[in-house]
Symmetry: C2
DNA sequence: TATTATTAGTGTAAAAAATACAATTAATTT
DNA sequence: AAATTAATTGTATTTTTTACACTAATAATA
């Protein structure tokens, strides 16, 4: 038994991969391998297969086209305007990934010529991919304001100046060092390491790492309208 | 020209309609009109048509099955496990709506026997609809903690006790009246009206209404890691 | 080896926001 | 007139946020 008289659609997944290299944000793009728009710059995309969920498809496509695996991938938004692909109607689900460029540089497979573009020097993208990127960046900014999500973008060990640069880059602004440090450390999410990073300064900056236990707890915490004393009552 | 050798899928939209009646949260459900699971309780769902976006489909389906229109509908999450519908694979996009039950009661068309169920007395739902509802409720709780989104759930004029009840209902807790009032008013989102609501108390409670101008500005405001003084610099 | 240059790291006072806590007010019902 | 019910309001304390500038550590250079 099947549903009759219903239209079936192509369903695709597009992966928006943001990366941070310690200084600026970049976007990972490839040159599309098939018509239409063959050879044009594109997000990592592909069609959904019959036996996989969309999340599985996103991971598969990213792996196939770049070699990247085991990275943070999150469903972002559907793009479903009937004419977004000139060839044929395709429903696209956009997924967003955040990675530390240096950490994953080796994983990236050169076969597909995936390339990092600084956010301010993006080439023209196919279809509505630029809209996808803009939407993703806005959502990332919004989310990072409440959520310690940006820690995911850093290597296991990172310095406070690096973290600050990352936040400043996302919002195109400068923060006060002392206040930023205090705020970040007050989350209790970071553990200070004994070694220093010596490449980017003469003095060297101490490494910190993410306290995974704390992180898992904190990521669920909610604020603002709910006094903290009430939150513990909420689990019923 | 079409994409060849690709599988096409049924795409559906399911609408999760939460309502608040001044006292408790309810969920709007209908009895499914076709096989499989005919007559079982279900979210308002239907298949995507060839010429509409998914957002359009959600609005159309909600209107067709309940009569409700012009309400706040937000894309929530895709549900795409290959076997979620036993008849045939269907990719479902869940949309969430929040409405004031009393305000829209008349709009609801009786033809489809849509019924409000208190959140604690939901019937067994078809397929993965219960999972959709649970996910939506969690996201709503999370979002409402930062976002004045719950104001959307109230009629044009509402009282502070009503608003407080709504927040308390969402988190199953009690807030201090004085602190809640102060916090809500500090958002500057509310305008005090001259009339009182007299049904639920002898003294009567003053009506408030949403200051639409302020609301549009505030809804974009972000906090926590970004000092407020920096936010204005962000627009580039 | 002394000097210079560069970035990391740190404290405090003032202002703002969050919290805990209970008496008074307005209106209706008896 | 008294009793009942729910709305409304303030203050003192604690916590958090903000603004602001000098010292420390190291490498490069004179």
């Amino acid at each position: 038994m099947k549903y009759t008289n219903q239209t079936r659609f192509l369903v695709a997944v597009d992966c928006i991969v943001f990366g941070f290299d310690g200084t600026e944000y970049k976007l990972l793009l490839i040159q599309r391998g098939f018509a239409p728009e063959k050879e044009k710059w594109s997000l990592m995309g592909g069609f959904l297969l019959p036996e996989e969920s969309m999340g599985d498809a996103a991971a598969r496509i990213l792996k196939q086209l770049t070699g990247l695996q085991d990275i943070y991938l999150e469903e972002m938004q559907a793009f479903s305007k009937p004419d977004r692909d000139p060839m044929e109607r395709v429903i696209a689900m956009a997924y967003v990934a955040l990675i530390d460029i240096k950490k994953y540089q080796q994983q990236i497979n050169d076969d597909f010529h995936a390339r990092w573009f600084p956010m301010k020097e993006l080439p023209k993208l196919i279809f509505d991919h630029q809209e996808m990127v803009d939407t993703a960046l806005n959502k990332l900014r919004y989310k990072a304001a409440f959520h310690p999500i940006l820690f995911e973008l850093l290597p296991e060990k990172f310095t406070l100046p690096q973290l600050q640069t990352m936040y400043e880059g996302l919002y195109n602004t400068k923060f006060d060092k002392r206040n930023f440090t205090r705020k970040v450390l007050s989350t209790k999410l970071l553990k200070k390491e004994k070694e220093k990073e010596k490449l980017s300064s003469k003095k060297g900056a101490f490494y910190y790492s993410l306290d995974q236990e704390q992180y898992k707890q904190t990521i669920l915490t909610i604020q603002n309208f709910i006094p903290l004393t009430d939150i513990t009552d909420t689990k019923d």
